[in-house]
């Protein structure tokens, strides 16, 4: 049954039809502000706060026809601002963005002109990107260029964080009062006073922005002919005059308030994964019930407002990425994730009527953004998971399904109080954090298969001829797989050291030069401590390094173990020769390695034990190490699209993978190598200790038949619940048959709307690179 109102249908259509384009407005306003010599003398927090105010005071406003929830990041839907202070796009970047086949952003001649004349000349050498690359040691640069790891902060600011509940009980005036109290407490500490002053300016700026919207709506109302639309515009004016100044008093105000905060956070900087409202069902419920009770709102109206919010998310394509960052995250999706279900603060089920309404809305909207996740704990009602699977059946990869109990355990293992852990959830792809209280950010992907390649070459990277790693010995002399693991352990720890050392420099650059006083308002305890979000002001501070290629690693170790050391049918020297020639001379050996190796994902302990070994090695090298904000490093296993890029820079691997082919993604088995069905995949995947990670990603492809009837969905629900009982973190399902994907590749125009699950997010199949399309086709479809 389709509930979408005509209004929502029209706005949705408009959002779908708009093509992403670059807007120079933000870049220009920021550059003009920075050009002012006085501006550059300001302490960084005040400078950033004033830039923020300048933006919100001068940005063009947009109220589209029919809109109920207002505000855009660009001038209109799908126009994308840039952040030259972080990453100033060069003319050739703009040219690439405009003309590339996948994920283009159109750049008008005027925009290009503005960049050429006014933006680029100012930022050269001044942008964070330039400063980051300039500050890195040669060996860091070597690793970055060789594809040993990527760097998240080179074009975007630390993000991934999620809003807690503060805005639903506090207006900006309340935040300002809280700032004033903290200001008194800080006494003569100028640094903190400046920080708080900056936050105060930001709080006022958001009110100013909303009031501008209020006036604009009033102005439009005056000339509006349709009485119905006039009433709507007056309502917009009234809502925007109340929030965010005051705490919201209605459902609609709560939604509009969140959206203003979202725009603020993503205008201040371009944080990874934009920004997310977290447990929306929980936050909005009191407003919903109160409004229903007072007769201010009907369920249909609530649903329409949520639809409008969904469209707002979809109107904001990710900031344009270039270079390696575009490869690791090649998508328009900006990874905002809405959590539903999950646990209440007292540990009981958090499912309420809005949880179901949110699924209804996400299902009928069928948009890339925001991404929906359901959080399922042991106490979650079975009906809720079954409802979620009905949506999964629609085949556009949403919602992704998380283990709410495991998330609490992971957060507690990281040292959070259980009380705070219960406020946490997943964001972005699969990473976990405490909403509203944590700065947790992903800092870069870490290429395990490349490190194995370097290990097998005694510290040399065969693709560059450089020696980025220590000499851990000639593997021909290894007497056992344990020897290889020992050498690999040394290499992983070596590269982790380089990455972490680089991160420390980058963290400091952000703390010193790019504070985020607006975001700091919403993350406890920045106001209380007078410290910025980037300076350790958050209650919890986590830095993640995302290990990539687990399946490829496990199968490669298993291949060496099985063929070289157990069966003795293959000499290490021969294997190394074949790897360095990419099996050119020996396809038979390659096939034997591919087909006769015990493989991860088949419930085969001979292979799975190496998954534990690899996790232990990554944990030992990374987990618990201090970061620059007073917090710790942790690992997770997720790839976005980087497994394709990492594969392209990694030579042949002992599992029979040819050089250049994609690595496995997340903790999923190597594509097409799970042959024993989903229970075996789950048994293998649950041999990892998920509770010692900050998130793992398991991708499974199912044929539509497996979700066709209520009975088969119940069985799938049991499969998922068992995975969670065995300690799994997350599972996502692609439900689309092979034929459809093949046809879509042949005839993209006929399948432009086909959305598939990639890795922690969904995307239009036809927007994916050809490599990634192939790979998705290769992932085994679990049928029955």
């Amino acid at each position: 049954m389709n509930h979408m109102t005509d209004r929502v249908a029209r706005l949705r259509e408009e959002s779908l039809e708009a093509a992403p384009s670059i807007s120079a407005e933000r870049a220009l306003l920021v550059t003009d502000f920075y050009r002012n010599p006085c501006a550059r003398e300001l302490p960084a927090p005040l400078l950033r706060a004033k830039v923020f105010r300048h933006l919100l005071k001068n940005r063009a406003l947009y109220i589209g026809e029919d809109e109920l929830i207002v505000g855009e990041k660009g001038n209109c839907p799908k126009t994308v601002p840039t952040y030259p202070e972080l990453c100033c796009h060069s003319l050739s970047d703009l040219e690439i963005l405009d003309s590339r086949k996948k994920i283009p952003y159109s750049v008008s001649r005027e925009t290009e002109e503005v960049f050429r004349e006014r933006i680029i000349p100012f930022w050269e050498g001044r942008s964070m990107r330039d400063m980051i690359f300039h500050s890195m040691e040669d060996r860091w640069l070597d690793c970055f260029e060789a594809g040993v790891f990527t760097e998240f902060m080179e074009q975007r600011s630390p993000g991934h964080t999620v809003l807690g509940g503060s805005i639903y009980s506090m207006g900006m005036e309340d935040f300002r009062r809280r700032i004033a109290v903290s200001m008194k407490k800080q006494g003569g500490d100028m640094r903190k006073r400046i920080q708080l002053m900056a936050m105060d300016i930001c709080a006022q700026s958001l009110v100013l922005f909303a009031e501008r919207y209020s006036s604009k709506a009033l102005g439009l109302a005056r000339t509006e002919r349709s009485p119905a639309r006039k009433r709507e515009l007056l309502e917009i004016a009234s809502v925007c005059s109340r929030v965010p100044r005051e705490a919201p008093s209605t459902f609609r105000e709560a939604v509009q308030y969140y959206w203003f905060v979202h725009l603020g956070v993503t205008t201040e900087l371009n944080p990874w994964d934009s920004f997310s409202p977290g447990k929306l069902d929980r936050h909005l419920l009191p407003f919903y019930l109160r409004d229903l009770d007072k007769g201010l709102l009907t369920p249909e109206e609530a649903r329409e407002l949520l639809g409008c919010l969904w469209i707002k998310f979809n109107n904001q394509p990710a900031p344009p990425k270039v270079g390696v960052t575009a490869k690791e995250s090649s998508t328009y999706t900006d990874f905002a994730q809405i959590n539903t279900g999950g646990l209440a603060p007292d540990g009981s089920s958090g499912v309420n009527e809005l949880s179901y309404m949110i699924i209804d809305v996400a299902q009928e909207m069928r948009l890339l953004q925001p991404s929906l996740s359901v959080q399922i704990g042991a106490v979650t009602e079975p009906e809720f998971l079954e409802r979620a699977l009905e949506m999964v059946r629609e085949g556009f990869g949403q919602p992704s399904i998380f283990n709410a109990d495991m998330i609490v355990k992971e957060l507690a293992n990281q040292g959070k109080s259980v009380e705070d852990a219960l406020l946490g959830g997943s964001s972005g792809c699969v990473e976990v954090g405490v909403f509203g209280k944590e700065n947790y950010n992903l800092s870069g992907y870490f290429n395990l298969a490349k490190i194995l390649e370097i290990t097998l070459n005694s510290g040399i990277d065969p693709s560059t001829g450089k020696t980025p790693g220590p000499d851990t010995g000639d593997p021909s002399g290894f007497a056992s797989t344990e020897d290889l693991l020992k050498a690999f352990r040394v290499q992983v720890s070596h590269f982790a050291d380089i990455k972490i050392k680089g991160n420390a420099v980058i963290e400091k650059l952000y703390a010193d030069r790019m504070p985020a006083p607006f975001l700091s308002l919403f993350i406890d305890d920045c106001i209380g401590t007078g410290l910025d979000y980037h300076q350790g002001g958050a209650r919890y501070n986590t830095t993640y390094i995302q290990c990539v290629g687990l399946g490829t690693m496990v199968d490669s170790l298993s291949a060496v173990d099985h063929h070289v050391f157990r069966e003795g049918t293959l000499g290490m020297g021969t294997l190394l020769d074949c790897l360095s020639s990419d099996f050119d001379e020996d396809e038979i050996l390659r096939m034997r390695l591919e087909n006769h190796t015990p493989r991860f994902g088949n419930d085969d302990e001979r292979a799975d034990r190496f998954a534990c070994a690899v996790q232990d090695i990554c944990t030992e090298a990374i987990d618990g190490r201090p970061n620059g904000r007073g917090g710790e490093y942790h690992i997770n296993f997720l790839p976005t699209t980087v497994h394709v890029y990492f594969g392209s820079v990694t030579g042949a691997t002992p599992d029979g993978r040819k050089a250049g082919m994609p690595l496995s993604e997340g903790i999923s088995p190597v594509q097409g190598m799970d042959r024993q069905g989903p229970t075996a995949v789950i048994r293998s995947a649950s041999r990892l200790d998920h509770s010692r990670t900050g998130g793992t990603l398991l991708n499974q492809k199912f044929t539509p038949a497996l979700l066709k009837t209520g009975k088969s969905r119940k069985k799938l629900a049991s499969l998922i619940r068992t995975y969670f009982r065995l300690g799994g973190h997350h599972i996502q399902m692609n439900v689309v048959d092979m034929e459809t994907l093949m046809s879509a590749r042949e005839d993209p125009d006929a399948y432009r709307g086909l959305i598939v699950r990639v890795a922690g997010y969904s995307d239009y199949f036809c927007d994916l690179s050809e490599d990634l399309q192939d790979e998705i086709i290769r992932r085994t479809a679990q049928g029955s």
Partner: protein, 299 residues
């Protein structure tokens, strides 16, 4: 401890009883149904399987074969009369194009395999299904497996043609939690023609099962032009109505995708029926429902 010949385990099996199940396929079947989907299940002995689509002609199998059964020039061909099923070629084939269907397996090994998915059975109310072939062809092995599962608290189902001596059939029915009984054709001549055995004994076994009190369902493959003939549907309906307890009748759609399996075994496909687009299934369901039979459909 008993042992038997098993030719496949299927985990996350969803259509052979309640919940998530592991189906264990026992090799050997006294019937020879023209539409058999599992031709490798018919012979009670292990058999060599060749997946010719994977073979790329490297000849490793010929070099590995100790009996000279593989023609080095045409490695896709193997002289099955010389082949001793030693498995050397299976190990040697880099492409995974060769396999042996059917391994002698003892009860312990089967239990180890099926216990792997215990947590899934517990969560879903599933268990183990013994199928075939005809699992009742290996009664002692099956009986011990069923008893062991019962001790472990694992729900069991037996998927059977019901063509077995009455005492064996009732012994197994007594040990299994659920019997999945094939009911293909109600008349002796048709059964003889299409399956090679008579219907009488089968119907008697089912009748006795209905008397006995164990849980069971009937399952009918809808084979276009054979089991869906009006006469047969009438016969089947009459038979079900004559039972002391009326079980659910599940209809299993016919697929033609199994033909490739015959080629892999070097066997000619006996018969081929038109693939049902769903119309026959609907017709059968409607006519049997009209006759007062309770129908369950398996996808």
């Amino acid at each position: 401890m008993n042992s038997g010949v098993v030719f496949q385990y299927k985990r996350y099996s969803l259509h052979d009883g309640p919940g998530i199940r592991t189906t264990v396929f026992l090799k050997g079947c006294p019937l020879s149904c023209s539409w058999c989907h599992n031709p490798e299940s018919i012979s009670p002995l292990p058999q060599l399987v060749l997946l010719s689509t994977r073979c790329f002609g490297c000849g490793e199998c010929a070099s590995a074969c100790p009996s000279g059964a593989v023609d080095a020039k045409r490695p896709g061909k193997t002289d099955r009369t010389i082949c001793t099923l030693c498995g050397e070629c299976v190990r040697a084939c880099p492409a995974g194009a060769r396999a042996i269907a059917g391994q002698r397996t003892d009860v312990e090994e089967v239990m180890t395999m099926v216990e792997r998915d215990l947590p899934f059975y517990e969560e879903s109310g599933g268990g183990v299904t013994f199928s075939g072939g005809e699992p009742l062809m290996q009664p002692d092995f099956l009986a011990e497996l069923l008893s062991r599962c019962r001790e472990r608290g694992i729900h069991t189902a037996v998927d059977t043609s019901c063509h077995a001596p009455a005492p064996v059939f009732m012994m197994v029915a007594g040990l299994a939690d659920l019997m999945l009984c094939d009911l293909k054709l109600a008349g002796d001549p048709q059964m003889l023609e299409y399956t090679g055995v008579k219907a009488g004994g089968i119907l008697d076994n089912i009748r006795a099962l209905a008397e006995d009190g164990g849980d069971f369902v009937l399952r009918m493959p809808v084979i276009p032009g054979v089991t869906d003939a009006p006469d047969n549907l009438r016969g089947v309906a009459d038979f079900i109505k004559s039972l002391s307890r009326r079980p659910v009748l599940e209809l299993l759609p016919y697929h033609s995708a199994y033909r490739e399996k015959y080629r892999r075994l070097g066997i000619t496909v006996k018969d081929s029926f038109t693939e049902d687009t769903g119309r026959r299934l609907t017709y059968v369901r409607e006519s049997l429902t009209g006759a007062g039979i309770v129908i369950g459909i398996e996808e």
